[in-house]
Symmetry: C2
Subunit: 321 residues, 2 copies
């Protein structure tokens, strides 16, 4: 029910027209979208639940709003799509009050504005339990250009953007009592990576537009889990070089730490220099960390010349550990 | 994260290809959609929460799945759109187990199959509290044909499909201890209307294709609330004739009872006979219950010649009453 938002005049007023691909925004039974000619529509949802994915002790309402949107924008980046519209279904305990909702939306609108994403609908409810935020993202991508998980081939390079393991490190710091407001230096950066991840939309778009990636995924569950998705969907194996991993954290955090929201992608070796050039264009480091091949669906780790199977340690967020 | 479903092989297997407007379904970072040429994409979300919108004492997992989907399919009907894809974000307490999730999806798939709706993604989480189900529906509607809330004009007829007040009546029966399995006759029908509403997709499509409606909304909050949305968005008033309301229940239930999911729409008087003919075509009663006009945004009730303002009594589902 897009119209549920009629009750929330402020949200409707702030959900200003931002995208030419939106025909009708908040205020009717549904929103109407019309992606650019020649584009497919990408759609994805991400659910975050208090006590499972975040904690009110260390995440402000604004940061929760930011992260809810960032996580689903990251799905658009992983598809090479340009995000343009979002809907939010939110259940809040009455005790948190209207101010919490206002601040949650402030976090959403701040990030949405940066990516020209228009909020076009959603639903709201009271919650007899935890905070619940479902983020629905819609993007557009030129037909045939979407970055699927299934295109990697033996011989392709495995690339990753940014650094690995800092979100997991930030979470460890938060668990140990550190807080964003009172931290500094690399600790502050790690906590910020965990609480306010930056989706790699510009990278995803560049890879799609220049046809530089054969397959891609975003790192939500962690390298060891997500690389397995690429291998399974592409029916190939991969060998990861431990020494190449871009991280200042323990190897375990780099391999298994989740919620990093970097892009992991496969590229043909012939375009390696074109991929490397994107680092300067985007101001974002890109690192070759392995090569596809070997036994089908097998993920191997090469650690100083010793190769062993890399098992996927599931990232179950913090509550279930 | 469409890919979250990788964990749920059965769901992916059952989410068979049903729609030619789906390019890529479950299993990647996002689904890819391509509505029919000349169509806009309609999108809407509906959130239902245990203890707010439903109760495990009287709704089975299958019925919860049915209702979650039915409610958002009804939004598509109200826009005149043909639903073709859905995503579900679901948080379940661990205590309910995998069997509950399997049955919830059985309810979803049964209804989705009837409307040729393909499940193309979603997300899942554990819940430290109640069951949460967010249903995201995507439909397609020919450009310029969508049934908005804003097109009613003074002099238009106000129509409603089906009957009014039976869902509210069914809820009263459930509260009083009645159950679907042990009820009969009109009590059974009322409970079924509440637990397993039937979205009016064929009516919405007929109104859009034949250009018979100037404005439309579905009755989720109740007649007195939803007619107000039509008036406010269309900047008109309306007079409802109490004697014309199609109901076998108390007037209060017909006026204010929510979750009936019939369509309420405005039509020019010139097409009244065309609208009336749809009753036979669709096997669904359509009743003229009022006329737009009078003071702007004012909703009046004509009860045996005595006209009085009809206030919107919010339908807060059962938990908050």
């Amino acid at each position: 029910v897009s119209g549920e938002f009629d009750r929330i005049a402020e949200i409707r007023r702030r959900a200003a027209r931002r995208s030419s691909s939106v025909v009708l925004g908040i205020g009717d039974d549904a929103a109407l979208l019309r992606p650019a000619p020649g584009c497919d529509t990408a759609i994805s949802t991400d659910l975050i639940v208090e006590g499972v994915h975040f904690n009110l002790d260390w995440a402000s309402a604004e940061l929760i709003g930011h992260k809810a949107l960032a996580v689903s924008v990251s799905d658009m980046a992983a598809m090479g799509a340009r995000p343009f519209a979002a809907l939010f279904s939110i259940a809040l305990p009455a005790a948190l009050g209207d101010e919490f909702q206002r601040r949650l939306y402030a976090g959403i609108f701040a990030l949405a504005g940066r990516f020209a994403i228009q909020i076009v609908g959603g639903d709201s409810s009271s919650s007899p339990g935890p905070v619940f935020v479902d983020s629905v993202l819609v993007g557009e991508v030129e037909r045939g250009r979407a970055l699927r998980r299934s295109g990697a081939r033996p011989g392709d390079d495995l690339w990753v953007s940014g650094t690995l393991g800092s979100s997991a490190w930030g979470l460890e710091l938060l668990r140990g009592g550190a807080r964003l407001e009172t931290s500094a230096g690399s600790d502050h950066d790690a906590i910020l990576t965990h609480l306010a991840p930056e989706p790699r939309v510009a990278l995803g778009r560049a890879l799609a537009e220049r046809r530089l990636a054969a397959a891609a995924i975003d790192l939500s569950d962690g390298l060891s889990s997500d690389v397995r998705h690429l291998c399974e969907e592409s029916h190939v194996g991969v060998v990861i070089e431990a020494a190449a991993l871009p991280t200042h954290r323990p190897l375990e955090a780099a391999l298994h730490g989740g919620e990093q929201f970097e892009l992991l992608f496969a590229s043909r070796p012939a375009v390696a220099s074109d991929v490397a050039e994107l680092t300067d264009v985007l101001g974002l480091s890109l690192t070759r960390i392995g090569r596809f091949g070997g036994p089908q669906d097998r993920v191997l780790l090469d650690n100083d010349g010793t190769t062993s199977p890399l098992s996927a340690k599931g990232w179950d967020h913090f509550a279930s550990r």
